[in-house]
């Protein structure tokens, strides 16, 4: 525990000192250690709640009125456009920063030791952030929303691809079960809108608030932010600064900065709003929110493998990291020193080459079904760039772990390679996929439809 040696009266009267310890370690204050990412996420969440409540006052969650009410928010409600823009851009900011935060915590080994529980809570918070974003995506009920959620709900149902192949869908249909739970029917309609609205404004924010509380509290329980072993024995006031007022002013300044940036972006760029949803005409291309385009690229190989199998394996990997790697000596050190850094950049280069090579093949020459017409769906599902990439990465990390006899190096290899692959697939989905999900070098080459 960090020390609490201020007169107790100050603590009792001071909310700020309920979050922070009286004194924080000098290492925790190093901007290049945390980049303030966690606290920025907290501030963005505050902006989301604040703007979200205003939007909720004017928004109507009904298929007939949702689209018009969002139009009213943009065009009629005083300042509504700015509020909606802030809500949209802060949410996108949260997705970016939550991944940066994940990178920071992973590469500094801040899940090691007793921090494993907080890592797990963090991964849950990451999932909730993505789900909040996705559920908010449907609410304007425009074309983009409708088709993104249609695709999303069918990804949830994609276990059917497997059960169909086994011929047991009639008896055992987890895909259909999940889809029905998500959208309350066979296709996206009022039931889906109501469900997503409830998720978006009650269930997810409340879960996030509770978990955020635990997440912050655990940092204090675990002895403040992680730091290298050489500081492990700093007790009392050694190498510590007063949180009040040094840290408070830093954080207040950061808060103002975050609000300023979000406000600035909201003034410059409008959140998109397409035509009203039309269930009989799909947008072409129908793209998910950008942070899901990596998964959408995988899904374009196989719904089950790309939409369910690989993402679930990835989450299992994220959750399991602190339980498979227990080399506590690496805590608080970026990339675990020189040896780790070498593994990181080598895995990154390897992952880049492996993924780009496969993408070259699939874009230039097609894949199994183009070569052998009528090939069994088993092969389409199990042999594609998504599964090959995942398989080779796991193999590689296992080899590194055994050869180096270090679980930390194995984790570094698997985390880095999968993240690089995720980045490439996402970039491909954002910038290089056009109508009919075909490859284009730039937006200008898209055919006019």
């Amino acid at each position: 525990m960090e020390s609490n040696d201020l007169p107790s009266g100050i603590i009792k009267r001071n909310f700020f000192l309920h979050i922070h310890a009286n004194r924080v370690h000098v290492h925790s204050m190093k901007p290049t250690y945390t980049f303030g990412l966690g606290i920025i996420l907290g501030f963005l969440f505050l902006i989301m709640i604040f703007t979200g409540v205003i939007l909720m006052i004017y928004y109507t969650p009904s298929v007939d009125m949702a689209y018009q009410s969002v139009k009213d928010i943009v065009n009629v409600v005083p300042g509504g456009r700015i509020i909606r823009n802030m809500h949209r851009w802060a949410s996108q900011g949260m997705v970016i920063v939550v991944f940066l935060h994940l990178l920071r915590v992973f590469y500094t080994g801040s899940y090691l030791g007793k921090r494993s529980l907080n890592w797990v809570i963090g991964v849950v918070l990451l999932i909730i952030t993505l789900l909040s974003n996705f559920s908010g995506y449907l609410l304007p009920w425009d074309q983009l929303a409708y088709w993104a959620v249609t695709i999303g709900s069918n990804i949830a149902a994609s276990a059917r691809e497997l059960t169909d192949l086994l011929g047991i869908t009639n008896a055992f249909d987890p895909g259909g079960f999940l889809k029905k739970l998500l959208i309350g029917g066979e296709s996206v309609g009022q039931a889906a809108l109501s469900r997503f609205f409830t998720l978006h404004v009650i269930f997810l924010p409340l879960s996030m608030l509770i978990l955020l509380g635990i997440h912050f509290w655990r940092i204090r329980k675990d002895g403040g932010l992680s730091r290298p072993l050489k500081y492990a024995n700093d007790k009392g006031s050694t190498n510590k600064w007063y949180a009040w007022p040094v840290l408070m002013w830093t954080e207040l300044g950061l808060f103002v900065l975050v609000v300023l940036v979000v406000l600035f972006v909201a003034l410059l760029a409008d959140a998109p709003l397409l035509e009203q949803a039309n269930p009989s005409f799909a947008e072409n291309p129908a793209k998910s929110p950008w942070y899901f385009l990596g998964i959408q690229e995988l899904v374009s190989y196989s719904a089950f493998a790309g939409g369910l199998l690989i993402p679930v394996l990835y989450l299992v990997f994220l959750f399991s990291i602190p339980y498979r790697d227990r080399e506590d000596g690496y805590v608080g050190e970026w990339f675990s020193g020189k040896r780790g850094l070498k593994v990181v950049w080598r895995s990154a280069v390897f992952a880049f080459l492996l993924v780009v090579m496969q993408l070259f093949v699939i874009i230039r020459f097609g894949w199994l079904r183009d070569w052998i017409p009528g090939i069994s769906q088993w092969f389409v599902m199990l042999i594609n760039p998504a599964t090959i990439t995942g398989g080779i990465f796991i193999l590689l990390a296992e080899v590194i772990r055994r050869k180096s006899k270090s679980t930390r190096l194995g984790a570094l290899a698997l985390f880095t390679s999968t993240f690089v692959a995720l980045l490439i697939f996402t970039a491909l989905g954002i910038w290089f996929r056009g109508p009919n999900w075909e490859f284009f070098w730039s937006l200008k080459q898209w055919p006019v439809i």
């Binding site: 695709i151 029917g185 009989s280 799909a282 947008e283």
Partner: protein
């Protein structure tokens, strides 16, 4: 005679209370969770075609509100789903088949998968004459792609 049952009154009441509480909890949980799974009645309604002759011959006509294509030739009429078996986007008609705008799955005119990630062929729906003499499409009943309703 009273000593035949080793359970005392107090422990019986305690156990009964726990059992009752568990039962209540389970029933409440089931009924609560049941709310998330509505019955889906009438999702697949029959579609009545007033006059099949209004469809052009040798052409796939898109029925917008039902997301299916009706094909008519000189012999008869048949209907195929316009929903991609991959992730549910609405297919577009090409010269010699169907193409999905979302992930590029291609189907031929018989609805068979040619390329792309689609796991199944398209569903063909039964077309028949209803009790009142009108021609109806039944999306709840699948048929082979070469099965036609002979009208003419």
């Amino acid at each position: 005679m009273f000593n035949m049952h080793p359970m005392r009154r107090r422990s019986f009441i305690g156990k009964a209370a726990i059992g009752l509480a568990t039962l209540t909890g389970v029933v409440a949980a089931i009924s609560y969770l049941r709310q998330f799974f509505p019955r889906l009645a009438g999702e697949k309604k029959r579609i009545v075609l007033d006059d099949p002759r209004r469809f052009p011959v040798d052409t796939y006509t898109f029925l917008e509100e039902h997301n299916l294509y009706v094909y008519r030739d000189h012999e008869g009429i048949k209907a195929v789903s316009a929903i991609c078996t991959h992730l549910g986007c609405v297919l577009e008609k090409t010269i010699d088949g169907f193409e999905c705008p979302c992930h590029g799955s291609c189907f031929n005119n018989d609805g068979e998968v040619l390329s792309g990630p689609a796991p199944r062929d398209l569903a063909w729906y039964s077309v028949s004459r209803g009790a009142d003499g009108r021609i109806v499409i039944n999306p709840g009943k699948s048929v082979q792609s070469d099965e036609k309703f002979l009208t003419f």
